[in-house]
Amino acid sequence: MIRSHWTFRVALAVILVLLAAPIFGAGRSEKAAATDEQITLRFSWWGGETRHNAYQDMLELFMERNPNIRVEAEFSGWDGYIDRLRTQMAANNQPDVFVAGHDGPWQVLPLGARADIRDFDIDLSAFNDVQLDEITSYDPAGRLTGIPVSESVRAGYLINATLFDELGIELPKSDWTWEDMAEIAQLVYDRSGGTVHGVLDESAGISYGSFGRRSWDLAAHGAAISGPDGLTQTAEQLRDTYRWWGALRDSGAATSAEISVQADDGANSPIVTRDAAMMSTALGSYSRFQANTPDDLKMIAPPDGRYPSDEIGAGISTQISSQSRHPQAAAALVSFLRNDLDAGLIFGTENGIPANRHFREALIEQGLDAGSQVQFDVHNWVVANREVVSFVGPHEAHSEFSSLQRAEEQALAFGRQSIERTVEKIIEHARNLGM
């Protein structure tokens, strides 16, 4: 009896201590924050290895200068980045600072999750007012919900110059057309004896954001496949797209279905594996592709090119969580990332051409590396030569629709269904989703 009571009391004491530990722990943490003794921030971004390394170097420098602030990096590849941020925001558990966009697929993120940058003491004088106004325009309350990362044309076409050289083919010029691309792609396939396709098939339900497909849609049909009110293109326009790309696929100018569906924006991309000589991607991804191959990569603007405004404007920005427990420290981090010259030089053109004009000037002054030079060249050419068309946001079911569209396009590319059936099913999916 005595032993039973004794055991019960010990058990109770252990449980109480364990339950109380987090409470006392939290108390200490708040006290520390209040006295600026030790603060922990979370910062998230997406990208490839070179961008991860650059950000981590920047964070080390920041923590060296701010010994009371520790920054936990939460980084990943592009796939699933928005989904994770969205889930975190739903639980009010988003990182203190994060990199995100405002339009297009980013519209699923609640505006209320971001703080107003103007509430903090952050110098905005080095940024283009047009970009700041653009970000402000995304918020009905007129808040500035982020500081732009880059001032850059976002889409480009990667060209494997080494392959072109080996095959004795002249590199395409910036003012090329889609017909030029088809001819060049065919030439690549023929001259390589069928071992290298000319271009990644943008109609085969490829698994990552297809900048080339949007450029094609804008050039051929004047609009992306869907808009905020639903499907934008007609059945005949969709059929036209699949006929055009299907012809390239059948002749070997574009990649086979097997290559297309496995393509990613890194080591498994066909331009790195030498399965294709050309493919579209984001301008800011150039360094990642180049880091994955010993071949010499070039980049030019997509053919014909009308440029959607969202691909030429502010794009993504660095944002502060409205739920941050340490908003001033978060603001200090954002200010460092986007205003400190040392940070800017570390980051270079990892996410496109920097939005901060002092960063741009410093990069040019110290001499641009090959990757940065490519980005500056494409950017400057597009700004001088391309027509910019205003971008319309996606439908609320865009993400789900894209997934279904991709599966249908894959079935078409693998020859499992006709163009007619593919278009019918895509339209049916859109209808079922209320688009």
């Binding site: 009896m1 039973s4 009571h5 055991t7 019960f8 058990a11 109770l12 449980i15 364990l18 339950l19 796939d79 699933g80 989904d83 994770r84 969205r86 889930t87 925001m89 739903a90 699923v108 609640p110 339900g205 698994s207 279905a257 097997e258 290559i259 569906v261 496995q262 498994n268 594996t273 079911a397 993400s399 789900e400 997934s403 279904l404 991709r406 599966a407 894959q410 079935a411 693998f414 499992r416 079922n432």
Partner: protein
């Protein structure tokens, strides 16, 4: 109530208190992280919740969609086919290796460990990436068959073979089932094999007439657990194929994940989860009903 009864009652309560005191941390975890989300998902399944604080009751609409939507039906078909092929294959490989290891070979512990390693690391991301590399277009497998003059394909990207690659990965992770079989095989009395041998029974006959009936409760256990696990497959499909190509590897759990976290249809995803639970429950019930015809328990007369 006399004093002895009072003391006994107090002692019983003290023992209960001690037990639940020690269990309380685990119980809190169970209720907060399992029971509550489980119960809450029933509620969400009847709403159109999509991370937005404003949501409505939609009755059985999510359940109707779950059994009529083409992607949902496809995911059920894909998952069922995966279970039908992967479970028997995995059990057959596990039993085969267990029988070999039960032959009293030297270094049994080493072999046992080696065969168990894939099960330890098999559900991880690294193995999934490795699998993609092995069976990709320029993967190890194609290089090996290339040595014999055969030309391979991208086994992961091809809609005809993508699911088969995941079945093979599942079969490769036979280690835990194998260990359970091995333990069961060691319980089969050797005298039975000796008697059968004297009576002229061959190895195959001994296996089917002695081994299988005597370890049938363990086969049943492994079968049940593997069926449940097959319906819950997620990581391999997410990493290796991401549901593609053509949704040929869009397993039910991957579809639930996509609906919840990619498309924001949390209410619908909750309904799909309950449909999955009902399917697993029904399959397991059928399995139990069928077991009385082939599972032999020594304690029961057949």
């Amino acid at each position: 109530m006399n004093t002895a009864q009072t003391l006994q009652r107090r002692r019983r309560w003290a023992e209960f208190g001690t037990a639940y005191g020690f269990l309380s941390l685990w119980l809190i975890g169970l209720f907060v992280f399992t029971v509550w989300p489980f119960a809450h998902s029933i509620y969400l399944a009847f709403t159109n919740y999509s991370f937005d604080p404003q949501y409505e009751y939609v009755g059985f609409a999510n359940f109707r969609r779950a059994v009529t939507d083409s992607l949902s039906l496809k995911s059920m078909d894909v998952t069922a086919r995966f279970a039908i092929f992967s479970v028997p294959l995995r059990l057959a490989v596990a039993l085969f290796v267990a029988v070999l290891l039960n032959k009293g070979i030297k270094g049994l512990g080493v072999y046992r460990t080696i065969y168990y390693i894939p099960s330890l690391v098999g559900s991880g991301v690294a193995v999934a990436i490795m699998w993609r590399r092995v069976f990709g277009r320029r993967g190890l497998f194609n290089n090996v068959i290339g040595l014999f003059g055969a030309s391979g394909q991208d086994w992961i990207a091809n809609p005809d073979t993508a699911r088969l690659m995941l079945v093979l990965l599942s079969a490769w992770q036979f280690g835990s089932s194998m260990l359970i079989f091995l333990a069961a095989l060691k319980q089969v009395p050797n005298e039975m094999y000796e008697s059968a041998e004297i009576d002229g029974a061959g190895v195959v006959r001994q296996f089917f007439r002695i081994t299988v009936p005597l370890i049938s409760p363990v086969i049943f256990f492994n079968l049940t657990m593997n069926i449940i696990n097959a319906f819950r497959v997620f990581t391999q499909a997410k990493i290796i194929t991401n549901g593609g190509p053509m949704n040929e590897t869009m397993f039910m759990v991957l579809n639930i994940y996509n609906q919840a976290f990619r498309f924001g249809n949390m209410g619908y995803a909750s309904a799909l989860s309950w449909v999955l639970l009902l399917i697993i429950g029904a399959v397991t019930a059928v399995n139990f009903v069928g077991s009385k015809y082939w599972v032999y328990y020594e304690t029961k007369a057949r």
